[in-house]
Amino acid sequence: MIRNIKHRPGIIRVAKATISCVLAVTFIFSFGVRDTFGQRRFSRTYPAGKNVRLVLMNRSGMVTVTGWDRNEISISAYLELPAAQIAPQSLTDKIYINLVKDNQGRDVGSVNFEVRVPYEASVDIETTIGNLNVISVRGGLVRARINSDGDITLTNIGSATVAAENVTGNILFDGLIVDDGNYRFSSMQGRITLRIPFTASFRLVATAPSTRSIDLGTLGGGRMRLLSDGRRIVGQNGDGSAIISVTNQRGSIAFLKR
């Protein structure tokens, strides 16, 4: 057999190439998953009651919060270099993360968060630049604020108090309108889309002062009226128990039936 290998230089070349590849892959992974492709990873899990409140203030990057049926909060973060410092605080019924304060004055990269919370949790997330997503949460409060650019997507939300604000970017809300709830959406420029049950009971104030583009679809019928030269629509659907306030300074507003 040894005589056979000596007389097959092709096999030797293939073997050398294979060994080189294995060594290269081993070299790359020798730094660990945490430092792959200039990113670091942060991961932590906290026990949490059903009504826990997540407060997360990001500096730059995406935040995605998804509800699940476990009584714990799982935080995973992918940190671009230079890596930011993450120091979560676990308080009574509250998980508090403030990257802005923890990295003030430092030049740090973006941090993208993926967080899992109990379905009944309250979510309060904010970032300076980046997108915010909240999925399948029905706790007391959902608040999402972007201080500059970014899209906000709130999907399958069942909370009674919802606030979504950005400066430039789109806002999509898909969820229920709970009786006596309070829903506030505000943007300077972009598109605000609300996908809600048209059988819900709410009072509406929708303002698009620059574009006058407010598309109600089949909502409201004759109970909605235009004000201020069409820049604002006010009205009531059902018995008007909840309040919906939508303001888009230089963009449009649209309602879709859920």
Binding site: T128, S148, V167, T207, Q249
Partner: protein, 196 residues
């Protein structure tokens, strides 16, 4: 000696006292004593001798109560800072008659004056945060700087537009409300970036 004295003047020359004259003399003496006693000085209010009737006092009390009530109302309204739903978004048309009267007298601000005052206050705060941002700006990366400039431009465009609308129509309630909202948004943007 008594006999000698009696003998000197005949008893027929001694006249009995006239009671009438004597009483008149005593009466005059008493009246003279009364006149010389100084009369007590009558002291009126404020030592000036003012005397008020009951109706005058009643009318003065009612007037004082009315003025106190008005001043209290004005003081309370000026003490509590109006919210954005108050004068910043209101127009003259939505004022009550009482408020219009107070505005004309100068005891309260008109909605336009209140809006202008609030705009000046917001501008002072914005100037402060702008200076804070200028100190931090050098530490940002290019992406952060671009985002800040882009979003500030969008907000300033809206501020200028609403100011133009309000100059041409000061009664435009909606523009007043929106101007307040975008000024607040500008402050929030500056405050957020000053923390970076």
């Amino acid at each position: 000696m008594i006999l000698e004295t009696c003998g000197e003047s005949p008893t027929d020359d001694i006249l009995p006292p006239n009671s009438q004259a004597l009483w008149c003399r005593i009466n005059n003496l008493i009246e003279t004593e009364i006149k010389t006693t100084p009369e007590p000085v009558k002291k009126g209010w404020f030592s000036r001798g003012w005397n008020f009737t009951f109706s005058q006092v009643g009318a003065a009390a009612v007037g004082i109560v009315l003025i106190s009530v008005l001043l209290t109302i004005v003081g309370l309204r000026n003490y509590f800072e109006p919210t954005a739903d108050d004068f910043t978004s209101r127009s003259t048309a939505s004022q009550t008659t009482f408020e219009k009267v107070l505005s004309k007298v100068g005891l309260v601000e008109t909605p336009q004056q209140a809006r202008e005052r609030r705009f000046r206050e917001q501008q002072v705060a914005i100037d402060y945060w702008t200076k804070r941002v200028a100190l931090r700006r050098a530490q940002w990366d290019g992406r952060m700087r671009d985002a800040f400039d882009r979003n500030l431009y969008v907000i300033d465009e809206s501020v200028n537009e609403y100011n133009r609308l309000l100059q041409s129509n000061p009664e435009d309630e909606l523009s007043g409300e929106m101007l307040d909202a975008v000024m607040t948004e500008k402050m929030n943007l500056l405050r957020a970036f000053s923390d970076l």
